[in-house]
Symmetry: C2
Subunit: 141 residues, 2 copies
Amino acid sequence: MENQDLRRVGLKVTLPRMKILEILEEAVQPHLSAEDIYRILLDSKEEIGLATIYRVLTQFETAGLVERHNFEGGQAVFEIDRGKHHDHLICVRCGKIVEFYDAEIEANQQKIADAEGFKITDHSLTIYGECSSESCKEGIK
Amino acid sequence: MENQDLRRVGLKVTLPRMKILEILEEAVQPHLSAEDIYRILLDSKEEIGLATIYRVLTQFETAGLVERHNFEGGQAVFEIDRGKHHDHLICVRCGKIVEFYDAEIEANQQKIADAEGFKITDHSLTIYGECSSESCKEGIK
DNA sequence: ATGTATGCAAAACATTTGCACCTGG
DNA sequence: CCAGGTGCAAATGTTTTGCATACAT
């Protein structure tokens, strides 16, 4: 129950926060921009200001509930943090996003950071490419 | 001689372009934002508009002369492309940037993309952490 | 009640664009 | 000369902020 998640991180349980958390948890495509969330809320007749969405997402990020990704293309996207670290493969044509995890890559990153005397706080690996799905090739998107 | 680089990619040799290319090639810290370049030009008494810098950098990127990186923190940074691909390790405290290359990571990325049916066009790996330099620890920056 | 949260509008940024003027080949 | 380049100001798109009002506890 997400109410608990909110209380646990010290945030009051309010309607905007619950709705936004719900959308992030249930989205089919879990990588959403603030604007995406705004549109989804409008579609479900919820009147929540865009400014509130940005504020809430930033609070969620600080609280560790969501991750913010700065992929190419202007808008940041947010994704619920389910505790399983992963990186992303993004199709530059259709926008499809595939998550992946590679233990060897992770290990090598650690090795490199150690060698340079860095204590890792975060890292992001994003591979851009063209996927092979039919709909993408046809440009149907 | 950078005049040749410019001609080679089909750009007229103009003062702004030469100056910007020169700055990118000679900078001690080769990862510069458009604003950084603007400031450097101002310091050397060159009156070049910020809009021109953005236009020129975008042209350079298209021509393959420079790479644009979207690290965290709003501004994109540009780096001259010397043909040697590498990734970045960035200190979140003092901003220090270390470049690295790891053949195993590269190979693993290719393996993952292949497995998902993606043809890689680009990729970016950035590790954020805290470096161990004395000046950084002391917060002198 | 009271400290927080929200909504709105305005501000703040980074980046792009329109347009009149200038310049390199 | 003339296509292309530049400077300036204005436009854009995203994200943040100030402030008065509304809400959770």
